[in-house]
Symmetry: C2
Subunit: 519 residues, 2 copies
């Protein structure tokens, strides 16, 4: 159809693609913070865009001094960059360890072939031990765009993973991260299958277990879809972004730690997927289990207690779901060589009085310090979980775990241990206080008959939690409480006027978050 | 848990959120082309980020002079913006119709409540006439981020839509766009259920139908996951981004047009979803049907012929799938008041000799001009489809459609009509020729027994199609052809060295794209 030999300067010659000097530009730090997303900026008229045919929003492979990053390209049509420059976002700058003027080679990334397995899953094919590792490798090396990451996360929720798929996902997630090993055994661990605002037992359980002489190197998440994760809460009290070697020193000295799992890179794929799940407010059971257990395996855990709160507005809404989840968790744990036990807990209302990092941190300290106004439910749940762990590891005789755990809190050893752990992690901090607070009061007298965990969590998030550490909700009532008209039910805390207003816009048409039956 | 009255400058006062002067910044055009994605850049230390607690990658609502846009926020940590400025990407700039120094009000967008329906679909609830319209409205007003769009598209593929869901999606898509009405009837239309490289019958069919005196106001798509859509191909021959009134003038004058549906905004939601489907290389049947029929309804079509190519590497791989898709298409068309007929066609190999915008355009012209080397299959398919449409509308007696269509091509009326349509759309152009071409030859002598449409399309895409108009694949053989060793099987065309190399990297390990059985 075309006329041979016309307009074809090159014919039959395979062009040299690698190392062509024409495909390099000089790095310029633009000071644009795109968070985890890697972004590069190039002039639409630059030699590389023209020679490689790179359009705006294309994915590009950047190489500098042996380091490679896959980034999203945005074209510049203004004079923000000089000819011959490539602008880098902060994350790209760090990934390449670039300096201003550094030479960066730019090329098309190889096609992301693992996406065909994601498409297969969308169409109903099962994921396997063969197809999951390349997907996870591509995810941690930044080769998936947001659209592609979201498709993977959504497909795993819409086509629920079976046992074999969950085991394969768990191990694929472990394999793309670092893995700790310890000279001693047992290594204790705990996890709560989230969904319950304020349920911040971990710092208390770690303090008890370590005070009893066991080893508990705890890594925790930041919030996924909740107003705070344990790492968010602990961060208001001490440093949590420890390196693996720093974490190891803390554990060797104190027997326990409470650090952010993301910093120690033990499950880097999970940290990336969490961001997407958060934007979608979506959790799937398979990814939940793989997320939990991959971190436990990577941390070197041998004994694990799982807290499953059950309640109509908790993540696990009824007994049937709880049994199903329990079965999957224990099966996958067993297939991974971990001794696990579940503890079902009350999921009908929030735990403690605070929702949001700083508010929860104050609640944790009140329990550890045996303060008279400490939340009794936060204390009793922590002791139940620590007790189960003491029994599971053999440190306490069957039936004696809770007694042992209580004693360690009562005599101040748990509080002393917690302070020493915080000191070892980088020094103890005082939680911040919100500048803007507003109480929400009862419209009529009566008895509290329902508390909607989800909508309460939404209020805390709209107020700025977890990014705004002091933001959240302070709960003044519990189920079955008698209230008078005008009595404060909860107080919204925010660090800025705008966020307080944003949260209140949501509260106004949702006054039934706390249900009150006329007396 | 917090001490009342301490550190709380405001208590019990609902802050005034709307119209606060503190939440405005001055617009600055940064000349950053982020394509359809709306992006705003703000200093991390600016008054608005601080007062609203806006973190990087948050979604923000921008308002200027009554126009509103929802954008993704990136923080600036450098001095790229002066204090008090907000940087706008090109798409955001256009959406707000801003000028430099214009006052832009910035706020948190209201929560995207329709996302709960998307989550419901992920978890297996059906979408309905009630839940789909708010989803589609939020999509077209830019309130969904890429992550959220991808979740919607993926959920509709992983949890296939049933008849009622497809009808509801179709109508929701029509309702968020413009809709044409015509004074005359019938209004003819055609559509090919894609997946077959080079199948560019539309310009030929429109020319025949309009030459026969019928009205065919054809809007076409750009490529979704293929190397070219009809709009991409037509764009190398004439202007396709006509407004609705321009399109109407062309149709009134010539009886037909071939324009890009995206420009006339008849199915704006579809254009947004197509970008995501393209990044995922994913098509779902429900979205396919809704995409097709929503455009036909919006275009005012009354009579529609559907081309369904069937073949092992076509989109529709076997008879069972074809029957299922046919049933769904005809059912949804009927429920929408459109008279439709399907034509099953051979999907075992590409149509014509060109794959890619310019190469396909040359093939179309060759058929219309009755050139001796015109591809016979492209001609016969076009005539079959035009014939079916002539019969369906009653313009030809049953069994006489193909004869009427052939005559119009043979005597040059179709070519004359095509030229007049191109002139009316803005003038006819000469297709560009690729600067870099490379033939791929037979490794041994034998007979061509298979041609992999999908991998051949991938080669054309890696070579730059459809964005690079001259790029693509020129096919030299067809099924059952006898070839000698070293004989060219196809030629890769690219506009840049890099893209040619990129395509060849893929071709090398995929030499079996064209299967040759030894003679």
């Amino acid at each position: 159809m075309t006329t041979e030999g016309e307009g074809h300067p090159i014919r039959g010659v395979y062009p040299n693609h690698t190392g062509a000097a024409a495909n390099t530009l000089l790095a310029r730090r633009l000071g644009i913070d795109t968070k985890e997303e890697l972004v590069a900026f190039m002039r639409a008229d630059c030699n590389v865009c023209r020679s490689e045919g790179l359009t705006s929003r294309a994915r590009v492979r950047l190489t500098h001094d042996g380091r490679t990053a896959i980034a999203t390209l945005y074209h510049l049509t203004s004079g923000l960059l000089a000819p011959g420059e490539v602008g880098l976002s902060e994350a790209t700058w760090q990934a390449l360890e670039a300096e201003d003027g550094a030479t960066v080679a730019i090329a098309h990334p190889a096609p992301v072939t693992s996406l065909s397995h994601v498409r297969g899953k969308v169409y109903g094919h099962r994921l396997t031990r063969t197809t999951l590792p390349p997907i996870l490798r591509d995810i941690v090396t930044g080769r998936y765009s947001d659209v592609q990451l979201s498709a993977f996360v959504t497909a795993c929720a819409a086509r629920p993973l079976d046992h074999d798929e969950i085991v394969a996902l768990t191990h694929a997630m472990v394999d793309v991260g670092d893995r700790l090993s310890w000279d001693t055994q047992p290594i204790a661990d705990k996890h709560c299958v989230g969904g319950l605002p304020g349920n911040r037992t971990t710092p208390i359980v770690v303090s008890i277990i370590a005070a009893c002489g066991l080893v508990m190197p705890k890594t925790s998440s930041r919030a996924i879809t909740s107003p705070a994760g344990t790492a968010d809460t602990m961060e208001v009290l001490t440093r949590v972004d420890l390196s693996v070697s720093e974490m190891r020193r803390v554990v060797e000295r104190e027997g326990g730690c409470i650090v952010w799992g993301g910093a120690v890179q033990m499950s880097p794929a999970d940290d990336i997927m969490i961001r997407v799940e958060r934007a979608l407010d979506l959790d799937s059971e398979g990814q939940l289990i793989a997320s939990v257990l991959s971190k436990k395996i990577a941390a070197g855990a041998t004994h694990l207690v799982l807290d499953i709160p059950v309640g109509p507005t908790a993540k696990v809404r009824n007994e049937e779901t709880a049994r199903f989840l329990e079965r999957s968790l224990l099966d996958v744990a067993k297939a991974s060589g971990i001794e696990a036990r579940t503890v079902w807990t009350d999921g009908t209302q929030p735990v403690g009085r605070g929702i949001g990092p700083a508010l929860e941190a104050r609640g944790v300290m009140a329990v550890l310090k045996n303060e008279p106004d400490a939340a009794p439910d936060l204390r009793s749940r922590s002791i139940a979980l620590a007790g189960a762990l003491l029994e599971l590891t053999g440190a306490a005789a069957p039936g004696q775990g809770e007694t042992m755990a209580s004693a360690v809190v009562d005599d101040g050893r748990a509080w002393a241990k917690f302070q020493r752990i915080c000191e070892a992690q980088g020094g103890m901090r005082v939680p911040p206080v919100a500048a803007y607070v507003l109480p929400v009061t009862a419209g009529h007298a009566g008895r509290v008959v329902s508390i909607d965990n989800r909508r309460l969590a939404m209020v805390a998030k709209l107020a700025g939690a977890p990014d705004a550490k002091a933001a959240g909700v302070e709960l003044h009532v519990r189920l079955a409480a008698e209230v008078t008209k005008g009595e404060p039910l909860f107080t919204v805390h925010a660090e800025t006027r705008g966020e307080l207003a944003y949260a209140m816009e949501y509260v106004m048409p949702n006054v039934d978050i706390i249900g009150i039956a006329p007396a």
